[in-house]
């Protein structure tokens, strides 16, 4: 009997949730679907949406994030061009139309959640570094990224030093000795050096419901 009442209460709660969404006119598909297909909970999706709205309205208020708004959110200035920010943006932009909709934003950020599977993080980081998207990371690509990073941070290292750092790195990573790092070699490298994936996890995503409170309350208080 008690279980029956609980069931009805839950059903009632779900129905009202449904109605709230209709009234709210969301510009994206049902958060429940996104929650199912990512590691985020429904309330986290809603909090993420608050962040998305903030970023996407910075330059053009059209509910989409363009490259400039992305740079602004990342560097707090739209004057900064970055090889890496471009790469990240392109990977987020799975529809390849130069703008990020909320779905693309949420699905990409899901990979950065502390609870996301490590395989997803390994895959994403591999694609990030595979600048020419050829399915392997070439020595030339690594050099380009190292030089870009050093320039960005105002660090100056001689070409010899850079070459020797890359030599050492490839010695360890390129176990097939073909001058390239393929997916398998990348995977082995990061499993041995987990700190290489540290940028692939954003602890902030765990607290997102408190950092970006959404004004629609969907959490049900469980009666004990």
């Amino acid at each position: 009997m008690l279980q029956c009442l609980e069931g009805i209460k839950h059903l009632g709660a779900s129905l009202s949730k449904c109605c709230d969404l209709d009234r709210q006119s969301t510009a994206f598909e049902d958060p429940e679907i996104l929650a199912r297909e990512t590691v985020f909970s429904v309330s986290e999706i809603e909090a993420l949406y608050e962040l998305f709205k903030k970023i996407s309205s910075a330059v053009v208020d059209d509910g989409l994030i363009n490259k400039e708004e992305f740079q602004l959110a990342l560097f707090k200035t739209n004057k900064k061009e970055s090889l890496f920010a471009d790469r990240v943006f392109d990977l987020f932009d799975t529809k390849h139309n130069g703008i990020l909709g909320f779905e693309e934003f949420a699905r990409a950020l899901s990979v950065f959640h502390p609870n996301a599977p490590i395989d997803d993080k390994i895959e994403f980081s591999f694609q990030l570094y595979d600048l020419k998207q050829q399915g392997f990371i070439e020595r030339q690509e690594v050099k380009q990224m190292v030089v870009a990073t050093l320039a960005e941070s105002g660090m100056n290292l001689s070409d010899d030093v850079i070459e020797s750092i890359i030599d050492k790195t490839f010695e360890e990573a390129d176990t097939k000795h073909d001058g390239k790092i393929d997916k398998e070699e990348w995977r082995n490298l990061v499993l041995q050096h987990p700190s290489l994936l540290k940028n692939m996890t954003l602890q902030y995503l765990k607290d997102i419901t408190t950092t970006f409170p959404s004004f629609v309350f969907h959490s049900r208080v469980e009666d004990t």
Binding site: K76, K168, L196, N199, L202
Partner: protein, 111 residues
Amino acid sequence: MKLTWLSAFDIISLSPGFDLSSLFEKDKSHRSDARFTTQKSASTIVSRLEEVASMGSFKVKKKDGTVKMQGSKEGRKGQLAIDAEIFEITPAFHVVQVTKKSGDTAEYSLH
């Protein structure tokens, strides 16, 4: 002191363009970590850190390339603990990553 050697990918991961955490930070000054580069030798860096630590009455412990500093005064959120990890890119080029381990962020920023 034995330091962590950085590979090319470690260097690349230092790039701010790859660090999406700034999407969530409203204010850079509230970051609980900071990174800077220096061309001083490792032993100079350590001595300098020890100097700063003694000025702020911190206890210092050195372990595996990290200088751990623990405040002895009770702050608003307990004792302030700061880690300074030193990475070697070349013997004349180091990256120091400073992270607040516990305590109040405002007190940490002062130091």
